[in-house]
C-alpha cells in the first residue's frame, strides 16, 4: 500500500461519512474537521473505518496525528511499515 493508495482510501471513507462534501478537494495540510465540517463522531468513524480497512488499531493517543489528510497518510504509512517490518 503506497501513500497514494492511503490517500484514496481515506478520501473514500470520508466520502461515505460526509457525502455532501468533496474530500478529494481538501487542503492536505488543513484540519479535516474544519475542511469537511466533521464533528467528533465523524472523526472517530473515519479513524476506525480506515483502521479496519488496513487491519490496524489506531490508539486514542494517536488520533491527533490523523487530523489532516497529510498527517493521516504519514501516520498510516509509518504504522504499516512498522507492521511489515
Amino acid at each position: 500500500v503506497n501513500t497514494e493508495d492511503l490517500r484514496d482510501l481515506i478520501i473514500e471513507v470520508l466520502s461515505d461519512i460526509a457525502p455532501e462534501t468533496d474530500p478529494s478537494d481538501v487542503d492536505p495540510t488543513e484540519d479535516l474537521r474544519d475542511e469537511l465540517d466533521l464533528d467528533s463522531m465523524d472523526e472517530l468513524n473515519m479513524i476506525t473505518k480506515v483502521g479496519e480497512r488496513l487491519g490496524i488499531d489506531v490508539p486514542e493517543k494517536d488520533y491527533p496525528q490523523m487530523r489532516t489528510l497529510e498527517g493521516a497518510v504519514a501516520y498510516l504509512s509509518g504504522r504499516l511499515a512498522a507492521h511489515a517490518g
Binding site: D37, M41, L44, N45, I47, T48, E52, E60, K61
Partner: protein
C-alpha cells in the same frame, strides 16, 4: 436558585437567526471572537460560532445576572479550553449538530455539554470508545432485548454524548480518552427516553434529584429556550475519568451526567455533583 451547579441554554434552530435584524448586533461578538469569526470560511461554521457564543452569553447572564451581556468576551486557552475573559470562576461549554447548538456554564466547577440528534446515523465501533464495563453492559442489554436494535443504538448514543460532555468538562491539561471515562448505569437511560417521565433513582446517581424538576428549571439549574418540545429524560449517571483510566491510581474527576431530550435531540450535561438543595 439555591443549589444551582450548572445552567444550560439550549437552542433554537439556526435558521431563525435570519429573522433577527442583525446577526452581528444580536450576537455581540467582541474581544478575540471578532478575528476568530472573521477567519471562518464556511458559512455554516460562522453561523454556529455566532449562535453558540450568543447562547453562552445568554446562559452566563442567567447564572450571573449582574453581568452585562455585551461585555462578556471569550478566549481560548493554550489547552484549547474556552474561557470567559476576566471571569476565571466560570466554566463554559458548547456543542452543536446540524441546526442545533447548546451551551452550558457553571460557577462552581467544571461543566461539559454535548448534543446529537436522536436519529444520528452509524455510531463508531463500540470497542473504539467504550470501557470493558460499558461493553459488558451493552452486551447484557442485547442479550435481554435481542431484537431491539433501536434500543441498542439509543444506549450507545447516550454513552456517546455523556462521554463527549465529560471530555469537555475535563479540567486537566490535555485531554483524557473516551475509553478512560466510565459512565455508570449505562443501561438505564434508553428506557427512560422512551417513557420520558420522572422516575426514582439510586441516591447520588442523579435520578432522585429530579423529583421537583419542572419543564423549564430543575435542581441542576438547567433551562432552555426555543421552539422544540423539551422533555426531561429522567435518567442520570455518574462519570469517573482519569488520565490513567477508571480505577487506576492518579487524579480522577467525578461528575454527574444528566440527559435531556429536546426536539428529537439528545443532550448530555456533565457537571459537578449537585449539593443538597436548601
Amino acid at each position: 436558585v439555591t443549589g444551582v451547579t450548572a445552567c444550560a441554554s439550549l437552542v433554537w434552530r439556526a435558521r431563525r437567526i435570519g429573522a433577527e435584524p442583525s446577526v452581528d448586533d444580536w450576537a455581540g461578538l467582541c474581544g478575540p471572537d471578532v478575528p476568530r469569526a472573521a477567519g471562518l470560511t464556511h458559512p455554516a461554521a460562522m453561523t454556529r460560532f455566532v449562535v453558540t457564543r450568543a447562547l453562552l452569553r445568554a446562559t452566563i447572564v442567567q447564572l450571573r445576572p449582574e453581568l452585562a451581556r455585551t461585555t462578556i468576551a471569550f478566549d481560548v486557552a493554550p489547552s484549547g479550553r474556552l474561557e470567559v475573559v476576566d471571569h476565571p470562576e466560570l466554566a463554559v461549554s458548547s456543542s452543536h449538530t446540524g441546526t442545533f447548538a447548546v451551551a452550558a456554564v457553571a460557577a462552581d466547577g467544571p461543566v461539559g455539554i454535548d448534543v446529537e440528534p436522536l436519529d444520528r446515523g452509524e455510531l463508531p465501533r463500540p470497542e473504539a470508545w467504550l470501557t470493558p464495563q460499558e461493553l459488558a453492559g451493552v452486551t447484557t442489554l442485547d442479550a435481554h432485548t435481542p431484537h431491539e436494535t433501536d434500543l441498542h443504538r439509543l444506549m450507545l448514543l447516550h454513552l456517546w454524548v455523556a462521554k463527549e460532555a465529560v471530555l469537555k468538562a475535563w479540567p486537566g491539561p490535555g485531554t483524557t480518552g473516551r475509553r478512560r471515562i466510565r459512565i455508570s448505569c449505562p443501561e438505564a437511560p434508553c428506557a427512560d427516553v422512551e417513557t420520558a417521565r420522572p422516575a426514582a433513582g439510586p441516591p447520588g446517581r442523579g435520578a432522585g434529584r429530579r423529583d421537583d424538576r419542572d419543564a423549564t428549571h430543575g435542581p441542576t439549574g438547567a433551562s432552555w429556550c426555543g421552539d422544540g418540545e423539551a422533555v426531561v429524560a429522567p435518567a442520570a449517571a455518574s462519570a469517573v475519568t482519569s488520565p490513567s483510566g477508571p480505577g487506576a491510581d492518579g487524579p480522577t474527576l467525578d461528575l454527574g451526567v444528566d440527559w435531556f431530550v429536546i426536539d428529537a435531540h439528545l443532550v448530555a450535561l456533565a457537571h459537578r455533583h449537585a449539593p443538597a438543595r436548601a
